[in-house]
Symmetry: C2
Subunit: 607 residues, 2 copies
């Protein structure tokens, strides 16, 4: 069937776009013409399998031989097709799973910031006071309390001297008209005149390599602007363990790491505020999330015990700390709220991510935040259990022969033709390749396995295209060769690193499933969060067995969900309470003492 005009009407879900075509064409061509993002690594040869789509309605061409080879029986039964092979002759509705969408669209659609009832912990109130006279010499504070009681029926706690300092001058310059910023019964800021139209806050996702800072309008809930800054603690140790070592070796090490991170946040805040005509003193409330080590260093807490078994945190409970106590510039009485963590290695960032992606009465969800340390939680039937596994820095491009960070020139996508073992590279900014970032090395190992260049134990197969014996005497694959760029190789050791990492993650998942008596089939959704989880190609992760096999559209990449959760907890007390409830419900499973964990791990190492 065609539409009224005799053309073919195609609807693309979940973005909901319509397009009309006069001639039959493949889904891939239709998407391209309609400007709908759809991945294709092999350029429409039918071999990469990245352009999987699901036909929701319509009457397409019959399943091709290529598709029958690339797609699983389950996928075929569920209506999956390859967009480059599936031809539309009549009206159709095509669902593009997130795994087949390019990066930005994947996040845009998956971000799913839920509409939020605003109930920020700090609110502003405008107040007019009767002037002081010789007949009425009440103190400024008494006068304020009396007026607040009469005009708003409220009474404040004993004042913070840092805020009280503002009151007298504000009364003078505002001619007895002032605006109060109240956090419950506590005064956190006073301004002359009526400034109730300006109410701002800050959400911070403090990562070990990157700090994401969100300037938020508390009245609208909108992000005024978000900015990222490198975490300057990197100068004292690339990974967390080195930083912890630094604090134990240097007498004031904790203080140094605390101060530099506060300063980095302050500088970002200053730039953000200046760009939007604000003063940092207008920030009425802050929320900060991070892994437990980042959380501890931010509060200047000792971290030594985090690095020694049994890896005990100082505190996992939610904290309310004066911004000035941790060296942050904000309103004089402003607080930083730090949501709860779960254990030494499952931090408030995971709780925040959980909150941001939480759906009441959800089914069985697996949430994964991949990093040097990978935190995962499984929620099912009201129970949430969490594990943390040492996946190592390979996914961040570290400890890999030609590894690098995700920067221009980094190979971020690799596709190896299963038939010809031909390698295709995509670099960031299309710059000449200088190294492999995490998603690139993952693609590469997945591609090598898919093309038969690795066996199940991970050994590089001699004689494969581009494989040679390296200087170490072991096999290696040459990805790019000399010329005006560096020679890029993937060595046997690189493959082993990825194998260890994926083994750690896979075995963690197996423990979560085992402890909850759930099979992977029962998992409704796998939610990938964080920088790496956002940039990887989920099909590559599936291919090397990082996760058990699952329908691609059950995988959701949610980007920086920890940051989204931090914003939610900045904007709503109810969200803070929800986060705290989630954290209390989470049960931490220590992998190293889980029965038969070594067996799970050994099994998970295989491709």
């Amino acid at each position: 069937m065609r539409d009224a005009r005799g053309s073919i009407a195609v609807r693309f879900e979940p973005i909901g776009r319509h397009a009309h075509f006069s001639q039959p064409l493949t889904v891939l061509d239709a998407a391209r013409e309609a400007g709908v993002g759809l991945l294709s690594l092999c350029g429409g040869l039918g071999s990469c399998g990245r352009c999987r789509v699901r036909l929701q309605s319509g009457d397409p061409s019959a399943l091709s031989e290529t598709e029958a080879k690339v797609l699983s029986a389950h996928e075929i039964a569920a209506g999956y097709r390859l967009a480059c092979r599936c031809v539309l002759h009549s009206n159709a509705t095509v669902y593009i799973p997130s795994t087949s969408r390019p990066q930005e669209q994947r996040l845009q659609l998956a971000g799913e910031e839920q509409p939020l009832a605003l109930a920020p912990p700090v609110v502003k109130l405008y107040l007019e006071l009767p002037p002081a006279t010789l007949q009425d010499t009440r103190s400024n504070w008494t006068r304020l309390q009396d007026a607040l009681g009469a005009q708003h029926g409220r009474r404040l706690d004993s004042p913070d001297p840092a805020v009280l300092r503002e009151l007298g001058p504000a009364l003078v310059s505002g001619r007895w008209r002032i605006t109060l910023a109240l956090r419950g019964a506590e005064l956190v800021h006073v301004e002359p005149g009526d400034t109730t139209a300006r109410q701002f806050g800050l959400a911070v996702d403090l990562g070990s390599t990157k700090i994401a800072v969100y300037l938020v309008d508390l009245l609208t809930g909108q992000t005024v602007e978000a900015r990222g800054a490198p975490n300057p603690q990197v100068a004292y140790g690339e990974d967390i363990i080195s930083r912890i070592n630094y604090t134990t070796l240097q007498t004031d090490g904790t203080q140094v790491l605390q101060t530099c991170v506060a300063q980095a946040i302050n500088e970002t805040v200053a730039a953000l505020c200046s760009a939007h005509g604000l003063q940092p003193i207008e920030l009425l409330e802050l929320t900060l999330v991070g892994n437990t080590a980042m959380h501890h260093l931010f509060l200047g807490l000792p971290t030594k015990q985090l690095a020694l078994a049994p890896y005990v945190a100082n505190v996992v409970e939610p904290m309310h700390v004066k911004a000035r106590q941790v060296g942050l510039t904000a309103a004089p009485g402003a607080y930083v709220y730090l949501p709860p963590a779960v254990a030494g290695f499952v931090g408030s960032d995971h709780v925040s991510m959980l909150l941001a992606s939480w759906i009441e009465q959800e089914g069985t969800y697996l949430r994964v935040d991949i990093g040097t340390n990978t935190e995962m939680s499984l929620s099912s039937a009201g129970k949430i259990s969490a594990v943390s596994c040492a996946s190592g820095p390979a996914f961040e491009g570290a400890a890999i022969e030609c590894g690098m960070k995700a920067a221009p020139g980094a190979v971020e996508r690799v596709w190896i033709d299963p038939a010809t073992q031909q390698v295709r590279l995509i670099t960031i900014d299309d710059a000449p390749p200088v190294g492999l970032c995490g998603s690139g090395i993952l693609d590469c190992v997945a591609g090598m396995y898919g093309a038969g260049m690795l066996n199940q134990r991970g050994a590089i197969q001699a004689g494969s295209k581009g494989v040679r014996v390296g200087q170490s005497g072991l096999q290696e694959l040459v990805l790019a060769r000399g010329g005006n760029c560096r020679e890029l190789t993937v060595t046997q050791r690189d493959v082993e690193r990825i194998q260890l990492a994926k083994g750690a993650i896979r075995s963690g998942i197996e423990v979560l499933l085992d402890a909850s008596h759930i099979t992977f089939d029962q998992v409704d959704r796998v939610i990938l969060a964080g920088a790496f989880g956002t940039y990887i190609d989920p099909l590559s992760a599936l291919q090397i067995g990082m996760f058990p096999h699952i329908m691609p559209d059950r995988i959701v990449q949610v980007g920086n969900a920890a940051g989204v959760g931090a914003k939610q907890m900045l904007l709503s007390i109810a969200q803070r309470e929800a986060g705290e409830r989630l954290a209390r419900r989470m049960e931490y499973i220590e992998l190293t003492v889980y029965p038969h964990y070594p067996r799970f791990f050994a099994h998970a190492l295989r491709f």
Copy 2:
């Protein structure tokens, strides 16, 4: 009647000392032989009147002619005698009023530190925790809360990061045995092992020229040691107004004054602690009292409005401030408690003094704390009213031609023989006289008036002994002449300064009485506190009419009652509540708007 041995038994009250004499003798001689302190300025000539005593029992010699002249009819009727003229022939009980006792004994007896039920705001608890294992990875804080709940049925508020920093290391070095210092539900300090036997606190009386610091044992209530230190703010302004001016002229002036006073307290604390084998970190709680300007500068609050009509304080309510926020060294989470003030010029030091000298169901009491600013309160029939008057710096030896502070060589006592106009000087440490301190100038003016050298309006009478025309063309009295010491004079302007000061105080008293519809006869007790109130000769104050005439034994000099009150509020929450209740009951009367105040003042200027 004599005693069993045939000797004369004399009992001296209120110190309760007994002595026996074989021969009849004067009360003055009896006191000297018995080692009981009794003033005598004229050396037993019967002319200075300082040796007034009251015969409570016994049958002394008849009233002499001298006594009939020096004592008032009221005093004679009440049994008063001059000790140098009253001869004892048989057993007697002699009451020595505080006005006739030398300095130290006056204070010793009047100090009357009431026994206190100890209930300090911070208490220590010893706790044993189960060690962390891989099977029990609860955070340190969760572990602590769980044990505290199980062992003591208590639950703490969210921890202060500064205190939490101590917990991990204390658990390690104390091998899971720790001592907590708790302030209600807040943890203020953690120490390894059992340190419950050591609990210390600090009380501070922050005067504008002197800081009194009391190191107190919270378990016994005893003062370990008290030390004084000069207030370093003097370098930025001798008097309060100059300091306030400094803060308004210098951008960081308030900060400078805040920091220097905190530093002075810290240095005194360091010395005190070191002398008694303590660390400043062992100070679990602090209490600080002072006038409103000192209170504001200590908290870094703006003081400009205190110097401008209508002289409004920022806050008069009680404050609980972290010691570290105001730069004091103490336990990481320790608080400074600042009791309430009443108004811009009636500070927490007056409230503290009121508390220290408070007697439930007391009669009508007038409390006076003389300084550059004199605070006074009248309590009667459950009502307390307070005034503050600008008595100027004359009583502190400032703004007086030959004035100086109470230091060695300062004339502290002057007696002028009413009959011969002969001057007698007593200096501090018996050093050669170099100037007049407050009590000396007061004595001098009182003596001049008593010897007819001043008329009622305060004019120095030409032709009096030692009086000459000075360089200014006005009369002056030469107290001491050249030689190896400076020439000391009291000028007509000096007399006027004292007149203004006493007029301010007297008119304040008159307003207090007028507002409460009370006559001075109904005042049961006049309580003099503070440095100057402690050192003056109350009879001199009576002589110049600073107070209306009153029986000398109704005058009590209580020394640093503000410091005593501060200690009480350090040792007991109930005392804090009592002080807060007293402050709420106090009604401040602004003198400048009191009806007919100028008339009161004009009248009070006369001798």
